[in-house]
């Protein structure tokens, strides 16, 4: 029987008016899941236990998507525990241009400091499997990892320190580009850092770059492109111009995967795409190949290999011959 009793009462004359239903909250469900316990993967939208995601270096266990890694976790991933000694913290920003956008520049910097870092890069010495390196890491949390005078000066001092002390230099890039609020001064940091790298290279010292999401514009058009080997994390945005600018300029749909690590590798501008969990090992191995010196983690294996091979190559060299 078609009765209309169950239908909500229609009081207005608008025929197309949506009928109103109220949704009841499922009892207690919401309260049973504490805030932050679950995190949705940004790529596959799977609900993941936040703890599991963090333990997996913020790589989705379902789809392998690499979420951005907070700077402190990145430092712990790349260097030996407690080995990082920060340098050049005496270099601090100033408002040379008296720049005002929606905020005054000093205010913007003050607000940015809430992330726990004083500028968009940390630089210093660290060890990677016991090997001393000059280590720099950009802080995306600080004004988008943008490069102004302080970033340029700290990176330059880091490279000069590496050159003077015959150290390899390892830099992790994470930056939207040069910092507009310092105008031309930011642009010139591209020249300063690249000039320092030319001198580092002339001493035959290794320089490795790890490109993380995002690595674009001014930083990419200077020291982030100049690694002896450029390593990228999977799926990172890597390029010169931002995708939005390109789309506006050429008015075309951008190809799939455009400016992502794998795309850039396939076009020949990234040397290897390495999953996050293998980054440190890859860097360590490359430094071994570039310096000829095994680090702590490989010393035993290298020694063993050389002993077993020794009979075939005798005499192996001057030292053995003299002995």
């Amino acid at each position: 029987m078609s009765r209309t009793i169950l239908r909500p009462e229609v009081t207005s004359v608008a025929w197309f008016k949506k009928e109103k239903y109220s949704t009841l909250k499922p009892p207690q469900m919401r309260d049973r899941i504490p805030e932050g316990l679950l995190t949705k993967c940004d790529n596959c939208y799977t609900a993941l236990m936040t703890k599991d995601l963090e333990e997996n270096l913020r790589v989705c266990p379902k789809c392998g998507y690499h979420h951005r890694l907070p700077a402190r976790e990145r430092l712990a991933l790349m260097t030996d525990p407690g080995s990082f000694r920060e340098m050049f913290t005496n270099i601090q920003p100033t408002d040379a241009l008296h720049f005002v956008d929606s905020k005054e520049y000093p205010e913007r910097l003050k607000a940015a400091r809430k992330c726990g870092f004083d500028e968009a890069v940390i630089t210093g010495e660290a060890t990677i499997n016991g090997r001393r390196v000059a280590y720099g890491q950009m802080i995306f949390e600080f004004v988008g990892g943008s490069m102004g005078s302080v970033v340029g000066e700290r990176i330059t001092r880091l490279i000069e320190h590496a050159t003077a002390n015959q150290l390899p230099c390892v830099v992790v890039a994470a930056s939207g580009g040069a910092r507009m609020q310092e105008g031309i001064l930011s642009l010139m940091q591209m020249a300063k850092t690249s000039g320092a790298l030319a001198r580092h290279a002339a001493r035959r010292l290794p320089y490795l770059v790890i490109l993380t999401d995002p690595s674009t514009a001014g930083v990419m058009a200077s020291y982030a492109s100049l690694g002896d080997v450029c390593i990228a994390e999977p799926g990172a945005l890597i390029g010169f111009a931002g995708p939005r600018v390109i789309q506006q300029t050429i008015n075309q749909i951008l190809p799939k995967g455009f400016q992502r690590s794998e795309f850039v590798r396939d076009h020949g501008f990234v040397d290897i795409v390495v999953p996050r969990k293998d980054l440190k090992r890859t860097v360590a191995l490359l430094l071994y190949y570039m310096t000829g010196q095994p680090d702590e983690s490989m010393r035993a294996a290298v020694a063993e290999a050389r002993v077993t091979e020794a009979p075939a190559h005798e005499p192996t060299g001057a030292v053995t011959a003299e002995a």
């Binding site: 929606s102 507009m180 105008g183 031309i184 390109i246």
Partner: protein, 324 residues
């Protein structure tokens, strides 16, 4: 129709008209003509001595402004163009080659814009692709091999942001040029003749001497680009120009450039011959100075020049400086 008179030049237009009428009038009133001419020059001087940063940007983009190759043609002889990067193609937004300047051979790298739509299509509005930067480096290495000084003319609204440019490594091409220009063992003089936008300009802009024409600009980003990012509105470009400190006097103050080359009253396009003469004189002077410097010192000085760029507080030195 292209705009050849700016809003801020409107008061001059009226005077120019009066002057034209007075010149036609019979009989000629010489006293009145002289008075009008004087008045016109006075107003011109007044307007051009206090151009706002945005007005300078407009003058730098003026339809009739001389472009890089105009300088090459006017100041140099026997120009031979060298095409291509020997890897992918030839970028017509970057013109390279050899020429004779005041009896001496040199290498030329010139960022070139077009004058009309047809030429602009060919020149890609002065926006280079990676192959342009690679060609420039190739010709600079040739110059180094044959001990020729290098003159770079900078005039670009930016490196081209497009799919092909990204696929062929725009960032890598610019980064490599910047680094390698520190190692080139011959003098490099850069002249910003119009627009010096960002990495697009710096990609051929590392030199021993950086000169700028009075009404040119040089910055980390174009005023439009800056406005689009900060205020999501390209229309705020004028406001961005005020903030960015992109005029030659600003850059002189910030220690980025070495000399401002004066332009004739009303801009380079009003009396191009005078502009060319001013640029040639500055070039000759700096060239004489730089060619006398021993190579090692030249390279060291070039490094130290850029090494000192930037503004920050060093808390170990300025112990009482107020950090932000």
């Amino acid at each position: 129709m292209a705009i050849t008179t700016f809003d801020f030049e409107k008061p001059l237009l009226e005077l120019e008209q009066k002057l034209a009428e007075a010149e036609q009038a019979e009989p000629r009133d010489d006293a009145m003509l002289a008075q009008l001419r004087e008045e016109l020059e006075r107003r011109q001087r007044e307007i051009y001595s206090q151009l706002s940063p945005w007005q300078r940007v407009l003058v730098a983009r003026h339809q009739d402004r001389p472009h890089s190759l105009d300088y090459v043609k006017a100041m140099m002889t026997d120009f031979i163009e060298i095409h291509g990067d020997r890897a992918f193609g030839d970028d017509q937004a970057m013109v390279c080659g050899f020429a004779t300047f005041r009896g001496r051979p040199l290498a030329v790298v010139a960022q070139q814009k077009g004058r009309d739509t047809k030429e602009n299509l060919m020149r890609n509005w002065g926006m280079s692709h990676p192959e342009g930067y690679r060609k420039a480096l190739r010709v600079m290495r040739l110059a180094e091999k044959f001990r020729l000084p290098i003159v770079v003319f900078i005039d670009t609204p930016g490196a081209f942001p497009g799919i092909g440019a990204e696929e062929r490594g725009q960032a890598e091409a610019i980064a490599r040029n910047i680094r390698d220009m520190f190692t080139i063992e011959v003098p490099i003089i850069c002249v910003v003749v119009g627009e010096g936008a960002s990495g697009g300009a710096l990609g051929v802009g590392v030199g021993d001497t950086i000169l700028m024409l009075e009404n040119s600009w040089y910055c980390v980003i174009s005023p439009e680009g800056c406005a689009a990012i900060l205020w999501k509105d390209r229309g705020q470009a004028e406001r961005a120009a005020e903030q960015l400190k992109l005029t030659p006097p600003d850059l002189m103050e910030l220690g980025i450039i070495d000399e401002i080359i004066p332009e004739p009253l009303g801009g380079a396009h009003k009396r191009p011959e005078d502009t060319y003469a001013n640029v040639a004189a500055a070039l000759e002077r700096w060239m004489a100075q730089l060619t006398a410097v021993p190579v090692d010192e030249l390279i060291e000085r070039r490094y130290q020049k850029y090494r000192s760029m930037g503004r920050f507080v060093d808390t170990t030195v300025d112990t009482d400086a107020e950090t932000l």
